[in-house]
Every structure is written in C-alpha cells, then in structure tokens.
C-alpha cells in the first residue's frame, strides 16, 4: 500500500524527522487559506501516486495569495498521468542549497534490508541507479540488529555528503530505518532531503510504502487504505478483497493463482487482444467469490468479453460452475459474453453443472483465450 505524501509526512514528523510546515487542501479557497497559515512562499503539491509529479506540472510554487489561487486552479482537478488530482499539500517552500537522497528498501536478491544515501537528490533515483550506480552508497542491514549507527555514518561519509550536515543526515537515515522497520514498510524514502544555507536538513518529499502482507499488524495504517485507491474499480476490488489490477484493454480476465492469471493476460495479448484487468480469485474460492468476481469485471465499462480460466488445485470446478450459473442466471440478458475453461479438481463435475446457455465453454486455455479475443473484437465492432 502506498501512502500519500501528506500521510507519510505525518508518520515522519511523529518519528522526529524534520518536515516543512504544511496543510492539506481540496479546494481553491482551502489552498489560499492553508497558504496563509503556512506562510509564503509555498509549494502546492498534487497528492496522487504518480512519480515525477513536478515535471508533469503537479507541483508549483506560489509567492502570494493571487499566485496560490492561480496554481490551485491549475492543479486541483488536473489529470496527472491518468489520475485526477483531488487534493494538494500546501507546504512552506524550502530555500535550499543542496538536495540529497536517503532511502531504505528491501534488497530482495540479498534477502536483506538496504539503507542508501546519495548526493544526487532531487532526481529519479532509479535513473541514477541505472546510469551511475556508484553515486548511491548502500549499507546492507542484519534485520536482527537493525542499522548500526556506524553504518549510517559510513554511508553518509562515503557518499561524500558535506561534513557540515553529515551528522544530521546520518541521524535522518537512522530514524528513517526505524520508520521502515516499525511500519513494515517496503520502501521509505526522502527525495530530496534539502540542505538549507544555514546547514539545516529538511525532508521536502516523503515516500512510505507498506507491505500489504503486514497490514494486519498496523491497523492505523490499514485505515489509510481507503484513500490509496486510485479509482472506483480498485475501491470495489479492495472491498471484495481481490488481487485486481486495472489495464486499458477490453478483454476481462478472471482466474485462480497469480502466475496463471498473468499467463492468461499474456495469451490475450499473444492472440491479438488487449487485457482489461488482472483478477485473481485466489485459492479455494467458493461460489460466492465467483459471483463477486463476475460483478467486479462486469463493472468495468471497457470490458467487451470475459475469459474465466480455472485450473483447480484447492479450487473446485463444481464450486466455480455453481458461482458462474448463479451470477449469470440473475441477468435477463447476459451483459457481456463469458468464455469458461475449467480444468483440475472436480472439473468434470463442474462442466456437467455449468449452464451452457449462459456461457461458451472451451477445453483448453489457448482455445478459451482465442475465442474470447474473437468475441471481444466482435462486440467492440
């Protein structure tokens, strides 16, 4: 789960990291009022989960109320890489002389946390990593002990951070590691960590992404999940508890197991179609989950046909068939053609139960995908 910048900054401030004064606003008048409280000049920053907000026009400075109104009108409601900006963070602008990067993430290859420092802050760190990996100083961490203070110091000095702020930056890195660890984060990042003319350091941005699998022990963070959904379909999927990803095609896809669903998407593409979504009903799904899954995919107006691909291990074909009959039997007219392929546990029983007036049945994965792509193209035409 990705926290918004304003949420991450609340967590950072509570842990004692230096963040600028700020207020959240969701209207033009609200921005002007917030800017007055924070004090000019301010940065007005779109709160959407999009990288490179600044370049895309989602962050603008304002020196007075007129400018604040102007930039608020420009940013609120704007489309930022496909996401509508509904709120902005109004923040005291920092007068900086240097921009650093500090971050903590899980190095999955090493199976260890890694703390990072770079003097190349303020730009996309993944680009820095690709082009100039030596510019990022890394310290791998034994999770049993956490980041030793000497490791934070070593990273900072090796990275070439100015000696006047080195101690403060090391302290920020140690605190950031603590935040990462305490909150079961997958990433915690400050980019840029700004350095002011009088050698203060300030977290001008904040990234905090939480491991979804650990949300059960962070009820406070789990409450923020509602605001992390980026559209109504994701919100619906969250309510149903599905692993769901929206894509931009017209072939709806439902299946069991992440690898098999991904493969089904890939086959849709392979046979000339465009996937509309990834939807994994998980292992051992009962009929009611199947009903929910069809409702989920039918709710996407872009979908023209649906392929339902099940290879049962702990999922039973007869349960799936009952769910499909129930979901489609409730319509006077089936909203979109559904192509079903059942294999594995109780597939034969499922095929007997399945009402073939409601669905098209195919025997193999390849045939089911091909047929769905054809039907989607017919419906679209």
């Amino acid at each position: 789960m990705k926290l918004h910048e304003y949420q991450a900054k609340d967590v950072f401030a509570d842990a004692g990291l230096p963040v600028p004064a700020s207020r959240l606003a969701d209207s033009v008048d609200g921005v002007v009022e917030a800017a007055g409280e924070v004090g000019y000049p301010v940065a007005v920053k779109a709160q959407v989960h999009v990288g490179g907000r600044g370049k895309a026009g989602g962050i603008k400075l304002a020196d007075d109320a007129d400018e604040a109104r102007e930039v608020a009108e420009a940013i609120l409601g704007m489309d930022l890489k496909g996401y509508t900006v509904e709120s902005v963070l109004v923040e005291a602008a920092v007068d900086f002389v240097d921009e650093l990067y500090v971050g903590v993430t899980m190095d999955r290859g090493a199976g260890q946390p890694v703390a990072m420092v770079s003097t190349k802050g303020g730009v996309n760190i993944e680009e820095v990593a690709a082009e100039d990996p030596g510019a990022i100083e890394q310290e791998h961490v034994d999770p049993a002990f956490g980041l030793h203070p000497y490791q934070a110091r070593r990273a900072v000095y090796e990275a070439g951070v100015d000696r006047a702020v080195a101690s403060d930056v090391a302290s920020v890195l140690s605190t950031l590691y603590g935040i990462w660890d305490d909150n079961d984060a997958s990433e915690a990042e400050i980019n840029p960590l700004m350095v002011t003319a009088d050698d203060e350091v300030v977290a001008a941005d904040a990234v905090l992404n939480i491991d979804d699998d650990a949300l059960f022990r962070h009820p406070d963070l789990a409450e923020m999940e509602e605001s992390s959904y980026e559209d109504d379909l994701e919100r619906l999927a969250g309510g149903y508890g599905f692993d769901y990803v929206r894509l931009d095609g017209n072939v709806g896809i439902i299946g069991n197991g992440a690898g098999l669903v991904m493969t089904t998407l890939d086959l849709v593409d392979h046979y000339g179609g465009k996937p509309a979504n990834f939807l994994d009903i998980g292992g051992g799904a009962k009929a009611d989950r199947v009903v929910d899954a069809l409702d989920m995919v039918f709710s996407d107006d872009n979908v023209d046909a649906v392929v339902f691909n099940i290879f049962g291990g702990i999922t039973r074909g007869d349960e799936v068939a009952r769910g499909i009959n129930e979901a489609l039997g409730s319509f006077d007219e089936i909203p979109k053609p559904v192509i079903v392929r059942l294999a594995g546990t109780n597939a034969e029983e499922g095929m007997k139960i399945l009402d073939t007036d409601l669905v098209t049945v195919e025997a193999t994965l390849e045939d089911a995908v091909r047929r769905t792509v054809e039907l989607a193209q017919e419906v679209a035409a």
Partner: protein
Amino acid sequence: MSVLVNSDTRVVVQGITGGEGSFHAGQMMAYGTNVVAGAVPGRGGEEVNGVPVFDTVDEAVRETDADASVVFVPPAFAADAMFEALDSPVDLVVAITEGVPTQDMAGVKKRLSETEKTLVGPNCPGLITPGEAKLGILPGNIFAAGDVGLVSRSGTLTYQIVSNLTERGLGQTTAVGIGGDPIIGTDFIDALSLFEDDPDTEAVVMCGEIGGEDEEEAAQYIATQMDTPVVGFIAGRTAPPGKRMGHAGAIVSGGGTGTAQSKIDALEGAGVPVGDTPEDVAGHVEDLL
C-alpha cells in the same frame, strides 16, 4: 531418482489441527506420503487423521524421526514456525503459507543462511515426486513419474504446464514450487543445481515471472554450470510497471527492472528455449528428449 523428497521422507506437519493443515495432511497421506507427526503448540497428545500431534517440532522429531516439515501456519505465526523447524533436526522445511510479511522473511532467510538446511517457500504449492510423495497442496492426479524436473514460482501455472507435459507422456522426476514472494528459501539456482546433479532428470522446465532478478541469475548459471537442457516460461509480459500482480514478488519496478522481456532475453541468451504458451513449453521439452 528425484530431488529433496521421496517415499522415505518422514514428514511432520506444523499446523495440522487447522482447516488447511488437516485437509492437506490427509491428501498427502492419500498420495502415499509418509506423514508421521503433527506439531501444534498446546495440542500435544491429540491425533489428526491417525497421526500423533506434539506440542513442539523438537518433540515430534524425537518421537517419530521426522526429517522434513510442512508449514500450514497462518501468516502472523508462519515465520516463528519456520524458525522452529530450522532450529530443529529436520533437514527440509516446506512453507505453504501465503501472506508472510516480507520483513519477517528477511529474518528467516538470515537464519537459514547459518544452517545447511533447505527451505522451500513460503507462498508456494510445495513439491512432489510423482508416485512417491508430495509435501504441500499440489493436486497429485495431474502428475506422472518420468524424467522432467520442474521448478516454478507459481502454483496454478505449474499445474497447467504439468498437465501439458503429462498429456504428451512427459512425466516428472520432481516438481518444486519455490513460491511467489520477494524473499524465499530455495531459489531457481538451488533447484536447478539439484536437478543437474540428479542422474534421472533429463530436462528441466523453469517457470519464472516478473519481479526481481532471479531468472537472470539462473540464466547465467544455466549457461555456465549446467549440462541438463532447460526450457523456460515467463509470466507477466503484459504487466504494467509498479503494480503487484497477485504475488507479492511479482512486480516490475518503476525503474524497469524485473520485466518479462529482460528475463526472456537472459534465458534465450543462455540457449534456453522460452515458450510463448504453456503448450509451447511442453512442445520444446518433447523436442529435447
């Protein structure tokens, strides 16, 4: 021959009194697996499917000589169960549990590195040596004994590819589901090296997916250290960056690492044919044998 498990493997099931644990312990036994014990704190002295339950893994091993553990323990307690098994005398730990927090797994991985033991999973379907034993939740009826090894990050995709193999009469030595999490015990290279050393494995199918760089590293290993031919499959060619595709580990980073194309290129560069479809994979294997 086979790798990791056979009809002699003596299994203790951690979490055998739970719904999943009791059901799959029964399924494993029905397949012929030698399940000798269960381990559940506070439930010592009970029996499940006729199998004695002990309070600790250590006691289960002492009383039954179990040498492998299968973990069916809920996510919040799964890491503790893995530590318990790794600190016991068993040699092999298979963790089925899905949804173990990644930071917990970093601790388990560290402990694992200090032992000579094998951990498979978590978030995996387990492993099976057809006709001998299965440790996990794989549906036994789709497998057939033969000479193809299989290693995969995905459960149901494994079943799909195995059924394509079995339909062509291509049976399996052992199939290992290594799991879809970012931090796992046995990785591709570990499994590939086991198959390389198994005289009965004539070819290996390796099913990867987006996320991480394990497949790229495996390609390097195949090119430099393996004589047994390998056929590949990579799921997630159409996955957008930054989105977790079901598995916690199946994510293309915003910077573009972990893409299917990078993995396909690496495998093909190592001389590994990569199937476009599961059916293609079976076809490539047939061509090799």
